[in-house]
């Protein structure tokens, strides 16, 4: 097995020298590698060669010329990671090449201890190469402990950190301040909080007053029942308050969004109220402009939305200016 692998590598080197001397003859050496790989039993080696044969010739040659890549591929193949994934990861974060295969191995080992899968490990490392530094400084353990302390559920936290590995750098203080607030948003369910953080990562760092302002607007102005509406499912917190307000007022003035009132009645009567036809919060906040116009406000045009946005910005600026003037006046 080892000898076969070594032979394939030797062939690669030989191929390199040949191309230096005379013109390229791509197919021959690929066929030979494929030929050797067919003799190997393991799937991973076949993937290795497929990756080699699929990628463009120049890229692969360039990559495989780098001995660091070769040794990295050797290590990751052992871990069960496909070579094509590794090459993609290197595309995303080229600085990963500065880490030795040993560092990679340690990192994978540590992360696997917590329960992350190989795919997770690679994606985390690709998205956040600083993970290696955390590991070297023994901060990873501390960070993981802090996260587990948040009482969000072990599996939920693993899913979250696999998707957003940069959260490992958040300090314990910040976490202890912010997570309880998010739990109150997510009706004390860890899964909801994790979903919210995955959709709107900014919510972990943003000024809580801004987050509260958005919540207030949704509850008190748009009069959406936040108990029924699961705020953690939409991407509302990614938008600024001004954007949410602009879209809401646009729909309200056009008569598409009717402010709900308090009407006591049966469920059938509730359904007959004009506000039962209001577009949902996620349709209002999560859609692109084109989608917003075509799905939520089909009787209006993109031109009207753009002009209204400019117009409403001026209205908001005038309101802010008049509020500031009032404050100055009160202060005097």
């Amino acid at each position: 097995m080892h000898s076969l692998r070594r032979a394939s590598l030797v062939l690669l080197v030989w191929r390199r020298t040949c191309s230096c001397q005379n013109g390229t003859n791509a197919t021959k050496w690929k066929d030979r590698i494929l030929g050797y790989s067919s003799m190997m039993g393991r799937e991973s080696h076949r993937y290795y060669c497929t990756a080699v044969s699929n990628s463009s010739e120049q890229d692969t040659i360039h990559r495989l010329e780098d001995p660091r890549v070769v040794s990295l591929l050797e290590m990751t193949v052992k871990e069960g990671v496909t070579p094509s994934d590794v090459i993609n990861a290197l595309d995303i974060s080229p600085e990963l090449l500065n880490r030795s295969p040993l560092q990679w191995e340690n990192c994978f080992k540590e992360l696997k201890l917590y329960g992350f899968t190989q795919r997770h490990c690679l994606s985390m490392v690709a998205a956040y190469p600083y993970l290696f530094t955390l590991l070297e400084n023994n901060e990873l353990n501390l960070s993981m402990a802090q996260w587990m302390n948040c009482q969000l559920g072990y599996d939920n936290v693993l899913d979250l950190l696999a998707a957003c590995p940069h959260f490992l750098s958040v300090t314990g203080n910040e976490l202890s301040r912010r997570i309880p607030l998010l739990l109150s948003l997510g009706k004390s369910r860890g899964k909801n909080v994790v979903k919210l953080l995955q959709n709107c990562p900014g919510v972990l760092f943003a000024n809580w007053k801004d987050v509260e302002a958005k919540l207030d607007y949704v509850e008190k102005v748009m009069k959406i029942d936040t108990k029924k509406e699961n705020l953690t499912k939409c991407y509302m917190f990614n938008r600024s308050l001004d954007e949410i307000q602009t879209r809401h007022i646009f729909l309200q003035r056009a008569g598409i969004y009717v402010t709900p009132g308090k009407v006591k009645g049966t469920k059938v009567e509730q359904r007959q109220q004009p506000w039962s036809k209001n577009p949902s919060l996620s349709h209002i906040t999560d859609t692109s402009d084109e989608m917003f116009i075509s799905e939520v406000a089909p009787d209006l045009t993109l031109e009207e939305l753009e002009v209204f946005r400019e117009m409403y910005k001026e209205e908001l600026d005038m309101e802010d200016n008049s509020e500031n003037e009032d404050e100055l006046y009160d202060g005097e």
């Binding site: 646009f250 003035r253 056009a254 008569g255 598409i256 406000a297 009787d299 209006l300 045009t301 031109e303 009207e304 753009e306 002009v307 209204f308 400019e310 117009m311 001026e314 209205e315």
Partner: protein, 528 residues
């Protein structure tokens, strides 16, 4: 009752306070409690509810766009005061991005004319080429038939090649629409034809052709018929005949009195009238007008749509114009700025309103004495004006529900409960004013009816009622002018309502990128 309770409570509290006995504090009067205020329906809310119920059915899917624009800030245009520093003001405003509406209008008119000419030319060229191809096809078939009759054993391929040759020679003649020269075999001629055939495409583009003389060969097959065709200039016995479509224009299915509608193809933009505005999509606003060297304000800010009834009136030099319901005076000022009228009478029913007209005139005209014999401000009910046959142009800008204003101002709102009766009687009053104006105006004169409402009852409905009234009570004949063609160039600036079932007039719809209106206007000309 509540007020009495409050007074009693306050008195008691004062007495008891003085005697140092503690008394429980009473809550404030219920009327100002926040929950009561939150549920209170103001006239603007009532107006919006009314419009939602009514206009949704009238405008259908266009209503959200109109509603959005009505509730958003209004767009204004600036009417330059010719009695101020007009030149400097125009260049100042143009420097901040405003455009002269007359320039826009003229440019758009040219564009439309060029497009229409190109379209017409393209259609005629297509007709010619179609005929051309048909003739070629006919020639080929005819040639084949002839060859078969003459040389029945000859191979078909030779026949087609020969016929193709001859076809080339004959194709030059098809540019004139008549071809009888299929059998020409002159070489010199064929060269000439070949040369002209090469430039057929290009020469056709520059050629002057009479499209009325094109004949479809499928319908006029025989050579004899083609030779004998002479276009008739007059058909004997058809003098009393009128085209059917025109005939039905006099009678409409849903009216029981005759209504004559004629199209008005153009309206003139008076030379001295200068109106500036920002183009579609530009929400910049004009700075407040300032006083110039003549101590009058430099420009007047008004709704851009208000320009259209004045343009429709078509004021010419020497006209005697009556503005029947002039307050606050914007349209009267526009008429004055054309510098055409020999006499302008601005009338309104109440003193408070005529005072506003006075105020506006004072702000914009610097020499009252100059206008002594030309400008008159009167205070009468429009229905009581009895100067018949004096005015040749009357503008009837009637009081209406002022839709945009009613959605923003609660003060004296027409939708407040105390004015319900007045609001319901508005259409009747409007119809009386319009029919009276039609009786007042000189024969040949123009009456323009305008409102700032979207309601079909106050718009086409009132025009219909007034026309019927005039037909029933007098022998005055009135033509309704359909200005659709004349208004085409203006659509780059305004959003006009189409496909809304408007029978008589035109409607400017509020639209966020050009938030003018709402304005309805209808041009009526008295013929007898």
């Amino acid at each position: 009752m509540y007020t009495n309770n409050c007074v009693i409570n306050t008195v008691c509290r004062n007495i008891l306070f003085r005697s140092s006995i503690y008394m429980q504090r009473r809550w404030k009067s219920k009327k100002v409690h926040w929950s009561v205020l939150a549920k209170k329906k103001y006239p603007v809310d009532k107006a919006l509810e009314h419009f939602d119920d009514f206009y949704k059915t009238v405008f259908g899917r266009k209503w959200p766009s109109i509603r959005l624009a009505l509730l958003s800030p209004h767009k204004y245009c600036a009417v330059i005061n010719n009695f101020g520093d007009s030149d400097t003001v125009v260049s100042d405003l143009q420097n901040i991005g405003a455009m002269n509406i007359r320039t826009l209008f003229e440019l758009e008119k040219e564009n439309i004319k060029t497009k229409k000419n190109e379209e017409r030319r393209r259609r005629d060229l297509e007709k010619i080429f179609k005929l051309d191809r048909k003739l070629e096809q006919m020639a080929i078939t005819k040639q084949q038939e002839e060859f078969e009759s003459l040389y029945p054993h000859r191979e078909s391929s030779e026949g087609t090649s020969v016929s193709a040759d001859i076809l080339n020679r004959s194709s030059s003649d098809t540019s004139h629409g008549i071809s009888d020269n299929i059998n020409r075999e002159d070489d010199a001629e064929s060269n000439r034809d070949g040369m002209s055939q090469k430039s057929l495409q290009s020469s056709l583009r520059e050629a002057e052709f009479d499209s009325h003389r094109l004949i479809d060969p499928a319908s006029g097959l025989s050579a004899g018929a083609l030779y004998e065709y002479v276009p008739a200039t007059r058909l004997k016995g058809m003098e009393d005949w009128i085209v059917e479509s025109q005939h039905y224009g006099y009678y409409r299915k849903d009216t029981d009195f005759p209504v004559c509608v004629e199209s008005d193809n153009d309206f003139i933009f008076p030379v001295h009238l200068q109106v500036l505005l920002f183009e579609r999509g530009n929400i910049s606003s004009f700075p407040s007008p300032k006083r110039g060297s003549t101590d009058v304000l430099n420009y007047y800010l008004m709704d851009g749509a208000s320009l259209l009834p004045v343009l429709a009136l078509g004021v010419n030099p020497g006209d005697r114009v009556l503005d029947m319901c002039a307050a606050p005076g914007g349209k009267s000022l526009l008429i004055l700025q054309t510098l055409f009228p020999a006499r302008l009478v601005c009338n309104d029913v109440r003193e408070s309103r005529t005072n506003r007209i006075h105020a506006v005139i004072k702000q914009y005209l610097y020499n009252d004495d100059m206008w002594k014999n030309q400008l008159f401000i009167t205070q009468r009910d429009g229905r009581d004006i009895d100067e018949c046959d004096v005015y040749n142009k009357i503008l009837v800008d009637v009081p209406c529900t002022t839709d945009r204003h009613s959605l923003h101002e609660n003060d004296n709102n027409i939708f407040k409960p105390g004015r319900t009766k007045e609001r319901l009687q508005i259409p009747e009053m409007q119809a009386e004013l319009l029919s009276h104006a039609l009786k007042l105006v000189q024969p040949g004169g123009t009456v323009v009816y305008s409102t700032c409402s979207l309601s079909p009852i106050q718009n086409d409905g009132v025009v219909h009622m007034a026309l019927r009234k005039v037909w029933e009570e007098t022998d005055i004949q009135v033509i309704v002018k359909d200005m659709t063609a004349a208004l085409e160039p203006i659509e780059c600036v305004y959003k006009l309502g189409h496909d809304l079932g408007l029978k008589y007039g035109h409607l400017v719809l509020p639209f966020i990128p050009c938030n003018f209106g709402p304005l309805y206007f209808c041009k009526l000309v008295r013929t007898k």
